[in-house]
Symmetry: C2
Subunit: 252 residues, 2 copies
């Protein structure tokens, strides 16, 4: 059984990672089709076409890229941790930049059309997610890429960082669902209840995002897909163990 | 350090469980105030007052009670597992009954007012959540309360059951957020953007639900809050271990 388990886990893992990428990319494509085909395309001129960049940037940045930045720790679980950390930080930075462009687009559209800002549940949850995402990125940078904290503080913070990362992905997806629903009610309220193709497409996008989030959470939390221990992690564990046993951790 | 840890974890645990109950109850109360004060109260006559039972039943059943049914495994982690299982199943059954009443209320309201069913993202996600919730309850009953499956199948299914339970709670909360946003756009679209008190109250309800979900996920996934091993669990582990090592598990 032990001989079979890793291989079975391996092929299942590859299949699930592949499925997550199909779901994530399909979500980005469907958002593009929705905004490009049904909502009149893209521009940067204060018009509704500028608003259309908002959903595309958020689904690409704060959902797909955030998810993939998390997933690199599982996909490259046998690579040097330093490189994986760097990739994790870079993809998150890209996600952050694209998300900020998406948020600027909607504020700019509101300003040009004198629409009030930040009154909806979508905007409350979305802004909370973006602010916490920035905080999480800075904390990750300080704790893990340029570690200013001692080893045992890092070891204490690691599970918090992992939990908050998944929570932020779930919050980003929930915010996207709210955005999809809001946009449909603003633009096709009269035909939405008659199963207009645009409504069905956008609902499908919402369901795909839920599957993407569920699959990501499964891949990240499943024990058998986690990184095998390596010397760096061992060293961290030793510090943590020392602390838990009442000793004081040695300097890194 | 080992002497301090459990006590520290204990007081933190009690505080977090207390906070989760405050958040959960406050969410139910805010839903009641929203529907009772701003939306005209409750009835069972096909009117908008019948619809008002829908949010109240769903937040009480599919969010608060579902969350608490999960939480009993942490709150009563030192009690006999059989009793905790029974409590877990009973609270879930109560959650299921209340949720079904809530769903019947909205379908009945739609029928009486000739409003189409199941066209929105809220309804798609909500129905998926309820169907999967029923399935999860039946599976839990078969696998754990009246175990028809062998010990090793149960041991294999346990992490799936735990993961799906948390995923269903998150899906129920996401569906609630969509319902809050939809209801606000249907009923106060013109004043929502001017920060009408009803909109602020409903947005606050949404944020409380997110905090409730986040806290529940934290309490359930945190290693130090999990059940300490007991003889029954040990027996299950032995069966699983035997299987993993290539032997065949003995009958329960």
């Amino acid at each position: 059984m032990e001989d079979l388990s890793p291989r079975h886990g391996g092929s299942m893992f590859v299949g699930l990672v592949g499925a997550s990428q199909v779901l994530g990319l399909l979500s980005v494509v469907l958002t593009g089709v929705w905004m490009g085909h049904y909502q009149g395309g893209f521009a940067w001129d204060g018009s509704a076409q500028e608003f259309n960049l908002h959903p595309l940037c958020m689904v690409l940045g704060l959902v797909f890229l955030q998810g993939d930045a998390i997933l690199v720790y599982r996909v490259f679980r046998n690579e040097a941790k330093r490189n994986v950390k760097l990739l994790h930080g870079i993809i998150h930075l890209l996600a952050l930049i694209i998300s900020i462009v998406g948020v600027v687009a909607v504020f700019d559209f509101h300003r040009a059309n004198q629409i009030p800002d930040v009154y909806s549940l979508h905007s409350w949850l979305g802004l909370a997610t973006l602010v916490l995402f920035c905080l999480q990125w800075v904390m990750g940078l300080m704790f893990f890429l340029f570690p200013v904290a001692s080893s045992w503080v890092r070891a204490m913070y690691l599970p918090v960082h992992v939990f908050c990362g998944l929570a932020l992905l779930v919050m980003a997806i929930s915010t996207s669902l709210l955005g999809i629903s809001e946009k449909l009610l603003f633009s096709i309220m009269s035909t939405y209840s008659q199963f207009a193709p645009e409504g069905v497409l956008a609902n499908t996008l919402g369901i795909l995002l839920v599957f993407y989030g569920g699959l990501l959470c499964h891949l990240v939390t499943r024990e058998e897909y986690k990184r095998p221990p390596n010397p760096e992690e061992e060293s961290l564990s030793v510090h943590f163990k020392t602390l838990a046993e009442g000793g004081s951790p040695a300097s890194p």
